[in-house]
Symmetry: C2
Subunit: 246 residues, 2 copies
Amino acid sequence: MKKRIKLIVAYDGTAYHGWQVQPNAVTVEGVLNEKLTELLGEEITVTGASRTDAGVHSLGNVAVFDTDTRIPADKIVYALNQRLPDDIVVQESSEVPLDFHPRFCDSRKTYEYRILNRKFPIPTQRYDTYFYYRPLDVAAMQEAAAYLVGEHDFKSFCTVGAQVETTVRTIYALTVVKEEDIIKIRVTGNGFLYNMVRILAGTLISVGLHEREPEDMMGVLAAADRTAAGPTAPACGLTMVGIEYL
Amino acid sequence: MKKRIKLIVAYDGTAYHGWQVQPNAVTVEGVLNEKLTELLGEEITVTGASRTDAGVHSLGNVAVFDTDTRIPADKIVYALNQRLPDDIVVQESSEVPLDFHPRFCDSRKTYEYRILNRKFPIPTQRYDTYFYYRPLDVAAMQEAAAYLVGEHDFKSFCTVGAQVETTVRTIYALTVVKEEDIIKIRVTGNGFLYNMVRILAGTLISVGLHEREPEDMMGVLAAADRTAAGPTAPACGLTMVGIEYL
């Protein structure tokens, strides 16, 4: 009998051309499809919640697939991890209703953007932080972040050309915390536009440099124009933290 | 005029056969010698403070070398980093007296051993933590650590065959802290025997598993026998944090 399995998937995105299957490129989705197909002996195609870009990491992305297997749902994680490379580790497998869809069901997604803000890079942190040597004013970044919380049209924070019905999204929380040399920008929302978290990070960095003032965030939102916001921060600093389904 | 330059060197040890120059193996010392020789146009041989093993990382190892260069001491760091690979980054360069020796001058060295203690690995943390899935009792590890602080004969915590005049060392501080899923064992001492920090970590892990009790540490020290202590924990969890010269 067909059942739907949900996976929580962690990965180091450094070696991947992002989540989504592409011709002639190694992707996280592609590796999962291949290893699940091998393991279960039937053609498997997963559907992911967050189609992360090349170089973006994950602690808790969600994927589902349908299968006839008799392997108990909660055991699939062990058999699958034995086949996966070191840079993809499934954290949990469980059965979900057949109508559960990781993108179309209401959810709160959390991402974290990490900036290593010091004079010189630290080699062991080069894969999952963005190294930036000019000192950033964290208090100004925190003040700017407060303007972005809530329901807004985030068109200024979306890479041009993305096709979406609406650019209105709700940010439930957006915090900026400095721990030793790492500034962590953590954002939870009901959904994110293409490159939105990286543009939020790039814009907050510009505030940290006093190129923009915290209160400028109102104007950036109102402009509904990508050129009003800051640059798209590099992929390596971004991690998909997790998804809570409501 | 000859001057002596001190470097503070951070590295990701994953790709190196340790610090010390070896025939037919890439080492951190070897790369520094090669790049400094290229940069300064004279044959340079560095002397390191901590000859870390293959796979061990550093935030603040110390190396010195002598040179006739006219490049100001504090500028060498910039020119050198441009030539070094991504996994070695010098943090500081400065002139020191010609009689300063990184190993023979009195110092306090600090190391950190990091254990990722959870059900499944996290891919982005696979290089600089030791993944261990069985739950560890951190309170017991803390209690055991307290017995090891002070001046002791650490012969039980030294890999057999190492040639040293004395196996007596002083540990000034040994703390065990859990932050989220990572247990950090941090130790500061006046010097460490071969593999001593990794054997300390392995022994504390055995206490965390209740294979040994905290008060057993007195007997382990008194035995002065390597077989009395726990296993040598893997290199990937260990980081040379820094050295303070007195």
